[in-house]
Symmetry: D3
Subunit: 66 residues, 6 copies
Amino acid sequence: MPYVNVRITKGATAEQKAQVVKGVTNVLVDVLGKNPATTFVIIDEVDEDNWGIGGETVTARRAQGK
Amino acid sequence: MPYVNVRITKGATAEQKAQVVKGVTNVLVDVLGKNPATTFVIIDEVDEDNWGIGGETVTARRAQGK
Amino acid sequence: MPYVNVRITKGATAEQKAQVVKGVTNVLVDVLGKNPATTFVIIDEVDEDNWGIGGETVTARRAQGK
Amino acid sequence: MPYVNVRITKGATAEQKAQVVKGVTNVLVDVLGKNPATTFVIIDEVDEDNWGIGGETVTARRAQGK
Amino acid sequence: MPYVNVRITKGATAEQKAQVVKGVTNVLVDVLGKNPATTFVIIDEVDEDNWGIGGETVTARRAQGK
Amino acid sequence: MPYVNVRITKGATAEQKAQVVKGVTNVLVDVLGKNPATTFVIIDEVDEDNWGIGGETVTARRAQGK
């Protein structure tokens, strides 16, 4: 019955997101014996203006070549 | 002072979302005696490519008629 | 397939939490036609030292009779 | 290593969001001595139809002049 | 720079939680090319009284042999 | 009407948490003109066994002197 929320910056393809769902679900089944039928994985894609690290947005960091 | 986050796949109308806000707030007022004026309900609508269950995205499941 | 997270300050009984789960699930079934079998409701009980409103913790507010 | 999620209604500018990231990071550095390099701040901008308070959506409240 | 939140009912060992952290991080590195050094995985262990599915708490379901 | 969730490893004092609440609220008031009376700040303190970075738990990293 796990719930997993994956937050990443935008840019993943539908195929990559499907692989993330599958891979993360497999980890919970393999390690914890969870039932995949009631395992949720929700992916949030976040705009680079809205993600900060080191006190700066990702937008600002990329503009500086970080 | 409760905070409630409701996550659903896309497709609800504005009227349905207003009813969810009202209904969930009423539950917290009726059961727990919370003050509605400081009860927040935030609805996140998630793309079917971004919601996984059973190791697959909802997009993939619906394509298979699940 | 909804996921709901309810965050409240500590103090609810097990019976009240069961009623919140039931009531919130019913709202999603009645308003949005969701399947209760895949509707998750997770309640987080937060310590009053860890919940802030108006720039103060609930602990501080209650000490002032707010 | 903190993670901060800020949820606001839509309407902030990129510059304001950068200031929120900077300001919140500074609080965690100053108060808790956290390392900014591993401090994440993610801002979620929520549609007014999807944010409820007092049992109503913000959309409904603003239409009534609240 | 991903952030992952895994929510499960209580009962995992420290070793299992370490394996979940490792496994989920590997998925994000392998599928999306993310940098593990800035990949966070936070596990929340939820009491069975606080997790509802099908309109009932897990506590109630287990008492009924579900 | 903002909602802020701050997630940190355990170890902050009540006084530090009160300062985080105050500081984060001030940022939202100063930068975005938000009303502090409806600004929530919730702090989650996470066990080091439950927080992963770089594919390892904080517990494992600290045992290695990282």
